[in-house]
Structure formats: structure tokens, C-alpha cells
């Protein structure tokens, strides 16, 4: 891994330059001065799914056989489908596997789309939207693959995946076959990225296990028959890299790009330029196998170097049950770090980026002991209380039954919220999950974004055989914030770009990405918690094509759109 040696110098210069360039204000200044210390027992979130009208349940379809996909899904996306500048919700549905695998899928229920009508009201507009795919859904990715200015949807299924082209008005067209993206197999998380920097978003799809209903096997735990571990199948699957040809079609370049060199039980994904060489790399969390870091060599090929880079195994040398991933610059040193979540009994793995390699810093962050209790899936490092320090939310749910009575969900677990602090350590917020009354369900995907544009990050959690949870952020305190939307030269969300914001004496580096967490697509905007700082002095954007521009200053409490070409050099 090489390191871009000039970045530090450029940042130093940037800090001394006069400011005042670019950045259109698309929001009002609603921020208030920081208040005194907040009530530590006050909840950070409230579940508003009922009153908001979000009536979605991911149905596993479990009857008598323990079919592995039933315990893995499902996903959710937060995206603005209709250009009205608020985040709508798209849920991926499970259903009945054997029906879903028929050609065409005969699942009775499909994916669901909820339009955000503002004021915490969502309306189910699935019918007739073209987005109600009937496959046995797992995850979802968002990206503007056709550069028409709106976000499209890619749904991973057990069986053929689906690409849904957004016409910009909330209507979707299934272009899976014509685009060449209907990859069969068991897709899990996926991500759009422009790995070759040709201006078109390509697509990476993780595949979990080579599996079929016919080859399902019986597994047992201390409470009798239960779901298998992927290790029971010994059938890792090959991930897929699809190159966007720019004409509505994708080419499968898995072999050409070297991605076929290694197979795994892929579940989680995060794409970012981890080694600062100007090319987007790909990190894959594998379940029960070594995690993989596909280093982008810049010539259209990748090499897997997780072990060499120090992020394939934790410091115990274990192949953990990697599921969710989140990535950002957690320690404000300018490079992008990684956090992977795992099974109960296995802590999260915090891989701190040291420039040319990663160090497992889980213990020093306090996450080694704090995260062991539950089996974690959806997750994110974000500043939920806008105090200037990134926090951690994890959506939990077991994969093996706990011995409970027949009326209870044997996989249910409470979610967790951990507050970040200046010393780099995390401490759990109680009541558990940051809600007044802990919610105990079998949670899977969690998607993160500012649903009401109040500058605080909200969360949508998908639960297995239970209603989805919409967590409105009501965190105590009045920390300041700025939200940035980055649009590249094509006018699309600049997935793969990187922001470095100067806030007081600190520089906050954030990648622009939608695919992180687990099976989820998140708000493409960059959210910055500022604490008591009243403004962002300057924002340095490194665009995907390698060019850099400066924007700002921006007062706290505003949402800004930064367009490529409108900043200063």
C-alpha cells in the first residue's frame, strides 16, 4: 500500500488560505448555540415507526425447515427517490424462499417503498412504483449508475439480483437483464463505486454462500435444530465486480480485475481509499473467514491484501463472523479507519489505519469488552448527538436460539448505542440502545440518515419477522452541525469522494459513501457534528477523479451542496 505523501502539506496550506468559496446553501441556518451539559439519562432516540406510517416487516418465511437465508436478511435504503430533497425509505422483503426462486419469482410479497411527505409522515407507494421486486431479498445499494441525477437501486436476492432504474419521479424500471446485473447466487451487501475513475459507477456485489434449498443441511444447537453456520456448508462464494460501460450495460470483470482470486462468505462492504493512493479500495467482511481488503492497483485490477494490511484477522488471530462494516476517520488523523461487527462472544474489530497498515485497536477504544454481548449487524460510526465526537450504533439479533418460551422471539436482542469521547474510548448509553425503553427484536440492517433535515442522524432498523423500527433522533444537547451534499461533474452524488473539514483546530475527514452498515444504503450526504464550534472554516474536497477544491466557510446549522467545479483550487 502506498501513501499519498503530499496530503498533509496541502491541508496545511489549505488552512492558511482565505476562505469564502463555493457551496450553495440549500437549507436555513437553524442551529442554536450549544447548551449546557445534557441530561445523561435522556434518550437519544424515539421509535416513531407507528405514527410515521412505516408499516414494514421483513418476513423470513420460516416454517419448519431452517433455511439459512431466513436468518440473514433483510435490507433497507434511505434515498431521495423523487428529487424533493428528503429521504424516502426502501425496504427489501424476504417472503417465501422456494416461491421466490421460481422463474419468474412467485413471492406473494414484494419490496416496499415509502415516500417521505415531511413532518414524520411516510406513505407506502410500492404499488405501481416498479420497485416491488419479488425476489427473496437480502440487501440494497444505491447509486446513480446512469448519471441522470437520481439514485437508482440495486437489490441483492437469494437468486437473481435486480437493478431498478429511477426515472426521477419515484418510478422504477427493472433493467436487470438488459444491464447484465442479474447475477444469480446469494447476494448480500453491494456497493456502487467508480473503481476505474471513468465517471460511471461500477458495482461490487458480495456473495455469501453457494447454497440452494436442495442442498440445505440440518444443524443443531443446545436448543435443538437451528440455523447453520456458513462453515457447515464449506461453500464460500465468489464476489462479483461489474464494470459500468456507460451505455446502460455492465460487464462482469470479476476475473479480469482479479476479484476471483479469493472467495469468502461475504456479508458486509465498505469502499474507500484506505491507502490514500487516489483509488477506491474495497473492504469485505466475511462470515467465519478472513476479511478481505481488495487493494485497487489503479489499472483496473485489484489484489487482496487483508492479511498484509492487518485487517483480515483481529489481534487474537481469529476468523470472526464479520457482518456489518462502518468506515470513517474515527481518530481525526486524516486516513480512513474500519470497524467490523461480529457474533456474540466476539468483539467488534476496530482496525485503525496507520497509513500503510492497520492496527487492531479494539481494546484501547473500549469496544473489546463492550461489544461482546450481542450479535451485531447494522452499524455506523456517526455523531448522533453532534458533540463533535463520533458515536456508534449497532443493531443486534442472534443467529442461534436462546432458550426462551415458545411465545418469545428466541433470536431477539437489544440494540446498542455507544458514545464517543475525546480520548477515543466508547461508553455505552443507557437505557440500552439510547431509547427510553430498550427495544428487543431480531435486528438486521440499519440505515442512517437525517430523515427530517434537522441536522441529527436518524436510524431505520429492519427486524426479522417484526415491524421495522424508525428511530427519530431526539438526542439531548444542542451541539452544532453542518450537512454537506457533494455532487460531481455529472451532477450525481459523488460516491467515493472525500471531505476534509476544518473545524476549529480539528480536521474531520469523511468519505462520501452510501454502502456501509449491513445490507443497507445510507444517506449520501456527509454529516458533521461540530460540538460548540459555530462554523466549518473550510472544506477540502478530493473528488473521485483526483482533483481537489475548497469550499466554505459554512455557518453551523446549514445544509450545503458542493458542486464539482464550483470550489476554488
Amino acid at each position: 500500500m502506498r501513501r499519498w505523501r503530499h496530503r498533509g502539506l496541502l491541508l496545511l496550506l489549505a488552512g492558511t488560505l482565505p476562505v469564502g468559496c463555493g457551496g450553495g446553501d440549500t437549507g436555513s441556518n437553524r442551529d442554536q448555540p450549544a447548551a449546557s451539559a445534557a441530561d445523561p439519562a435522556a434518550p437519544w432516540f424515539e421509535d416513531v415507526s407507528g405514527p410515521a406510517g412505516v408499516d414494514f416487516m421483513w418476513k423470513s418465511g420460516h416454517e419448519s425447515r431452517f433455511l439459512m437465508p431466513e436468518i440473514i436478511g433483510g435490507g433497507v435504503a434511505l434515498l431521495d427517490i423523487d428529487g424533493d430533497e428528503d429521504l424516502d425509505l426502501y425496504f427489501v422483503q424476504g417472503g417465501q424462499i422456494e416461491r421466490a426462486l421460481q422463474i419468474p419469482p412467485a413471492n406473494e410479497i414484494g419490496n416496499q417503498l415509502f415516500r417521505n411527505d415531511g413532518d414524520w409522515t411516510f406513505v407506502d407507494i410500492s404499488e405501481g412504483s416498479g420497485a416491488d421486486d419479488r425476489g427473496y431479498g437480502q440487501g440494497v445499494a444505491t447509486g446513480d449508475y446512469d448519471n441522470d441525477g437520481d439514485l437508482d437501486l440495486y437489490v441483492t436476492n437469494v437468486g437473481a439480483n435486480t437493478l431498478l432504474r429511477n426515472d426521477g419521479n419515484g418510478q422504477f424500471v427493472d433493467v436487470s437483464v438488459t444491464s447484465g446485473t442479474n447475477h444469480p447466487g446469494w447476494g448480500a451487501s453491494a456497493a456502487f463505486l467508480d473503481y476505474d475513475e471513468d465517471g460511471w459507477l461500477d458495482l461490487y456485489v458480495t456473495n455469501y454462500v453457494t447454497w440452494s434449498v436442495e442442498t440445505e443441511i440440518d444443524c443443531f444447537g443446545s436448543t435443538g435444530q437451528d440455523y447453520c453456520s456458513p462453515k457447515n456448508y464449506a461453500a464460500p462464494a465468489r464476489d462479483v465486480l461489474l464494470h459500468n460501460l456507460g451505455n446502460g450495460r455492465f460487464e462482469d470483470v470479476t476475473t479480469k480485475a482479479g476479484i476471483d482470486a479469493k472467495m469468502g462468505n461475504g456479508l458486509g462492504i465498505a469502499c474507500a481509499d484506505f491507502d490514500d493512493d487516489g483509488w477506491t479500495d474495497i473492504f469485505i467482511a466475511n462470515d467465519g473467514m478472513q476479511d478481505m481488503l481488495w487493494h485497487n492497483k489503479g489499472d483496473g485490477t485489484f489484489e487482496e491484501m487483508g492479511l498484509l494490511a492487518g485487517c483480515a484477522l483481529d489481534d487474537e488471530g481469529k476468523e470472526k463472523a464479520g457482518m456489518g462494516v462502518t468506515t470513517t476517520d474515527i481518530d481525526n488523523d486524516g486516513d480512513i479507519d474500519l470497524l467490523v461487527c461480529n457474533l456474540s462472544g466476539e468483539s467488534d474489530s476496530f482496525f485503525r489505519n496507520e497509513g500503510s497498515y492497520f492496527v487492531d485497536a479494539t481494546a484501547m477504544s473500549g469496544l473489546k469488552t463492550a461489544t461482546k454481548r450481542f450479535t451485531r449487524f447494522g452499524m455506523a460510526w456517526l455523531d448522533f448527538d453532534n458533540d463533535g465526537w463520533l458515536d456508534l450504533f449497532e443493531a443486534n439479533g442472534a443467529v442461534l436460539r436462546d432458550p426462551v418460551d415458545e411465545h418469545s422471539d428466541p433470536y431477539a436482542q437489544e440494540n446498542m448505542l455507544l458514545a464517543g469521547s475525546p480520548d477515543g474510548r466508547f461508553s455505552e448509553i443507557k437505557p440500552r440502545g439510547g431509547v427510553a425503553k430498550p427495544i428487543k427484536l431480531t435486528s438486521r440492517a440499519a440505515a442512517f440518515g437525517d430523515l427530517d433535515d434537522d441536522g441529527r442522524i436518524d436510524i431505520v432498523v429492519v427486524n426479522r419477522d417484526a415491524k421495522a423500527t424508525v428511530l427519530r433522533n431526539i438526542s439531548p444537547g444542542n451541539g452544532h452541525w453542518v450537512t454537506l451534499r457533494l455532487l460531481d461533474a455529472n451532477g450525481r452524488d459523488a460516491i467515493g469522494a472525500r471531505v476534509t473539514a476544518t473545524v476549529g483546530s480539528r480536521r474531520l475527514t469523511r468519505p462520501v459513501l452510501t454502502s456501509y452498515s449491513y445490507l443497507a444504503a445510507n444517506d449520501p450526504r456527509v454529516h458533521l457534528g461540530l460540538g460548540t464550534s459555530s462554523r466549518v472554516e473550510q472544506v477540502l474536497v478530493q473528488w473521485v477523479d483526483g482533483s481537489q477544491e475548497r469550499y466554505g466557510p459554512f455557518p453551523a446549522g446549514s445544509t450545503r451542496t458542493l458542486r464539482q467545479g464550483e470550489g476554488s483550487p
Binding site: S222, L313, G317, P403
Partner: protein, 488 residues
């Protein structure tokens, strides 16, 4: 789950106070005088909180048997210890904790009960409680070193490096070469940003112990020291295989797993450690509960094969076939066994059947390819290997076989790709250099062939295949030179 655990721990403490009262009363001759009216019985052993019905049959039987023992000998701590271990080893931590607490109420000096509590707390993410329990173990059983180094690892996980180092050094005072403590010291040095110290400890430890995890840690140390080539060499071969340090008390708990899955795991551990007789016995005992169970029959067959009893292994697999002749792994394993017995007709028949039953079974395609190769049917072998590599096969040895097949079928680019992938794991693998040089020769690229084999000779000078190819390259160059009128 933790809330339940926390609640039950506190109820256990209250229970201990109650028991104390019981024992005092028991010592008083006339209960009425002391205020103790009825003689208090020892506590009943805790039953599974959600009833027996939810437990897997094997676990039910083990728990019930242990509870009967406690009822038979209510004042005997070992009976309760067995019950606690049974709960603990079968993923019932709340019941295990309650039982450990009962033992400690009867005998506060029961070190193994403290140890069990420590393990449960550690797994549940309660490091402080775990450390308190381990401290009790240390005072009661000072020579049981796992209690000391385990505390070191818990400190390490909590980010208290100095406390961890102290615990590891204390372990070494008792057991000067203890690999767990030395590994812990290396990890502490890495966590503390002292990779040179870590490397020193690990280099010494690797002379005592061979383990992929030590290679992993040493590779990390070298990486941080900037010794990238050495790091790459070590890390390329690392498997996710942490060492199991000697800890008999914990092993007893793990081996108490009575569910079918736990018993299978136990059989696998015994096979892995080469304890074939014990593995066979465990498998056969488990079969008493699950007669004609296919995974068990396969393990018995595996053990027989490992002991060189291939005919018996085949008989066992035929029994599996009578249970379910549609189970693809049985056909695959039969094919492998018949191949060993040189019965190629049956080997082929069963390989074909395995593929037919599960077309996505990579191992079955691989076996099909092996048999085709044995018959020198190179193109069917190539097709089968294509499938095998599509469905999950990716180990280096199979890659080498694939590369060979690809070369022979003229798919040179793909063959080169497979050799290169093996070289990524081990740059000194002579067969890869020889294979790559061979491909250059087949392409009449003598310059590349010579360069490649030179690198092979530099990296693996004693490899006979490299030497053979070097000779061949030399001959071809001389021949070429002669054809060119003696010019090199």
C-alpha cells in the same frame, strides 16, 4: 441476556447470605434457642429456566442426569460442579452461574466454581467481574497458571496494558516458558507500540511452538518495523487458527457439550489432535443417541481411513448409503476411498453421482477431475476443475493441479494466473516457477523462460522440478543457438 445475567448474579449473592444462615443454624444443637425453627435443606439445584422441552435431547439427558446426582448428594460440591459444568458447556450461562453460586455458598473455596464464573463473565463482556473471580482462583489455587494469564488477556482486552504485562510476568515466574503468557507479552508489546519487543518474544517463542497465530503476530510486528518482505512471507500463509493454550478446567467445560453439535465438535477436536481411538469411542457413544446419523458415520469412516483401514471405511460409508443414497457427500467420500483402493470404476461412478446430486459441490467436481487426470483424460479434467473453482475450491494445492491442467489444455494465461496466486502465498514455491517457465517454453518465449527459471533457481535452488526445467530451458536455448548458426 445480560440483564438476566445481572439479575441472577445478584439473586445468587442474596442466596449465599441465606445459605450462611442455614449453616450457622445447622451448627446449633437446639434450633429453637437460636431462632431457627425448621432445619433448612440444601438448595435445590436450578432447573433450566425455560423448561426441559426447549433443550436438545442430548442436553436434556445430560442436565437431568447431573441434577439427579445433586439430589442424591445435595451437600457434595463435586456433584453440583458437574451440573454447573454441564450447564456451562451447553450454552446455558444463567443456569451455570446460579449453580456455581450454590457451590460457592457450600464451599467458598471452590476454585473451579470461581473459574467457571470468570469465564462466563468474560464471555458476557463483564471484565471487572471476571477479574474478581480470577483473583479468587489465584488465592485458592495459586499454581493454576491459566487463571493468571487469563487475567492478563482480560486486562489486555480492556486496554490496560501494564496490568496485562504484570499478569503475564507473574505467570512466567511460576511457569517460565508458558506459551500463553509469552504470547500475551508479545501482544501487549504490539498494543503498546513496541513491535521490536514483540518480534523478539515471538522469534524466541516460535522455536518452542509452531503455530500460524505466532506467524501472524510476528508478521504484524515485522510489518510495523518496515520489514515488509519478511512480513509478507509470514502473513501470506496465515490461517485463522488461534492456538489453544493448555487450560484443563476450560477443556472440561467445552467437552461437557452434550448436544449433537457439541459432540460432533468434540469428535472433530479429537481427530484433529490425533486421538483416533477416543474419537471413535465418542462417535460411537453419540450414535447410540442418533443411530445411523450420516455426519457421524462419515466421521467414523474418516477415522478408519486415517488409521489405514480403508475397507472398513468403505463399509461404514456403504452403511451411510443405505440410510440415504441421495446424500452427495457419501458418494464423494466413497469415491475417494475407492480411489485409494484402486477401484477406479466405482470411484468414478460415485464421483459422478455426487456431482449429479449436488452440482454446486466444489469438492465433488475436484474429485471428478482427479479421477479424469488419473486416466489422463485432460479435457474432462479441465472442465471439472473449472466447476470446482467456480464452487469454492481455492486451496493452493488444488490451484497447482488446476494450473497443470490448464497448461496441458493450452489455456496458458489462466494457468499463469493460478501459478501467480500460489506464488502470492509463497514466493519460494519452486513448482510455480517451473510451471511458469514451462509455459514460456510452450510459447517459444525463451527469454522469459530463462528469466523465470533463473528466479526459480534463486528462490528454490534445491527443488528438483526447478532443476529439471532449468535443464530443459538450457537445452532449448542451445538448440535455438545451433539453429541460429551458433549464435547465442
Amino acid at each position: 441476556m445480560m440483564d438476566i445475567l445481572e439479575r441472577e448474579v445478584s439473586s445468587g449473592v442474596m442466596y449465599r447470605q441465606h445459605l450462611l444462615l442455614f449453616w450457622i443454624c445447622g451448627l446449633v444443637a437446639v434450633p429453637a434457642i437460636s431462632g431457627c425453627s425448621d432445619p433448612v435443606q440444601p438448595p435445590s439445584p436450578p432447573e433450566p429456566s425455560m423448561g426441559y422441552e426447549v433443550l436438545e435431547p442430548g442436553v436434556q439427558v445430560a442436565v437431568q442426569a447431573s441434577i439427579e446426582q445433586v439430589h442424591a448428594k445435595p451437600n457434595v460440591p463435586p456433584a453440583r460442579l458437574q451440573l454447573a459444568i454441564t450447564y456451562h458447556g451447553n450454552d446455558l450461562p444463567n443456569e451455570a452461574m446460579l449453580t456455581y453460586q450454590q457451590i460457592l455458598d457450600l464451599d467458598p473455596d471452590a476454585a473451579r466454581a470461581w473459574y467457571g464464573l470468570a469465564l462466563i463473565h468474560d464471555r458476557a463482556g463483564n471484565p471487572e467481574e471476571a477479574l474478581k473471580a480470577l483473583q479468587e482462583v489465584r488465592s485458592l489455587a495459586p499454581s493454576y497458571v491459566p487463571a493468571i494469564w487469563k487475567a492478563g488477556y482480560i486486562h489486555l482486552e480492556s486496554g490496560r496494558i501494564n496490568d496485562a504485562i504484570k499478569a503475564f510476568n507473574e505467570t512466567l515466574k511460576i511457569s517460565s516458558q508458558d506459551p500463553a503468557a509469552r504470547t500475551g507479552l508479545a501482544r501487549a508489546a504490539l498494543a503498546d507500540g513496541r513491535p521490536a519487543d514483540a518480534a523478539r518474544v515471538l522469534e524466541s517463542l516460535r522455536q518452542q511452538l509452531s503455530n500460524s497465530y505466532l506467524d501472524f503476530l510476528l508478521g504484524q510486528s515485522y510489518r510495523r518495523l518496515g520489514r515488509e518482505d519478511e512480513a509478507a512471507m509470514l502473513l501470506a500463509k496465515v490461517q485463522g487458527d488461534p492456538p489453544r493454550f493448555n487450560d484443563p478446567w476450560q477443556d472440561t467445560i467445552i467437552n461437557a457439550g452434550a448436544s449433537y453439535e457439541a459432540r460432533i465438535d468434540h469428535v472433530d477436536r479429537l481427530i484433529q489432535s490425533g486421538a483416533y481411538r477416543e474419537a471413535l469411542e465418542k462417535a460411537r457413544t453419540t450414535m447410540e443417541q442418533k443411530p445411523d446419523d450420516l455426519p457421524l458415520l462419515h466421521r467414523i469412516s474418516q477415522i478408519q481411513a486415517l488409521q489405514g483401514q480403508n475397507e472398513q471405511a468403505v463399509r461404514t460409508l456403504k452403511r451411510a448409503l443405505r440410510v440415504d443414497d441421495m446424500y452427495a457427500p457419501t458418494h464423494l467420500n466413497l469415491s475417494i476411498r475407492y480411489q485409494v483402493l484402486k477401484n477406479m470404476t466405482l470411484a468414478r461412478r460415485h464421483a459422478a453421482r455426487a456431482v449429479e446430486l449436488n452440482p454446486k459441490m466444489g469438492e465433488a467436481h475436484l474429485q471428478f477431475a482427479r479421477l479424469a487426470l488419473a486416466d489422463d483424460n485432460i479435457f474432462p479434467a479441465a472442465t471439472a476443475m473449472d466447476r470446482a473453482f467456480e464452487y469454492g475450491i481455492q486451496d493452493p494445492e488444488s490451484r497447482l493441479m488446476y494450473a497443470h491442467v490448464l497448461t496441458r489444455t493450452g489455456r496458458f494465461d489462466e494457468a499463469q494466473g493460478q501459478y501467480m496466486r500460489v506464488l502470492e502465498l509463497d514466493r519460494n514455491r519452486g513448482i510455480c516457477w517451473a510451471g511458469l517457465a514451462d509455459i514460456h517454453l510452450l510459447r517459444n518465449d525463451l527469454v522469459s523462460a530463462a528469466e523465470t527459471i533463473q528466479e526459480g533457481l534463486a528462490r528454490a535452488p534445491d527443488d528438483p522440478q526447478v532443476q529439471k526445467l532449468a535443464q530443459l530451458v538450457k537445452q532449448r536455448i542451445l538448440q535455438h543457438s545451433r539453429e541460429q548458426g551458433g549464435k547465442p
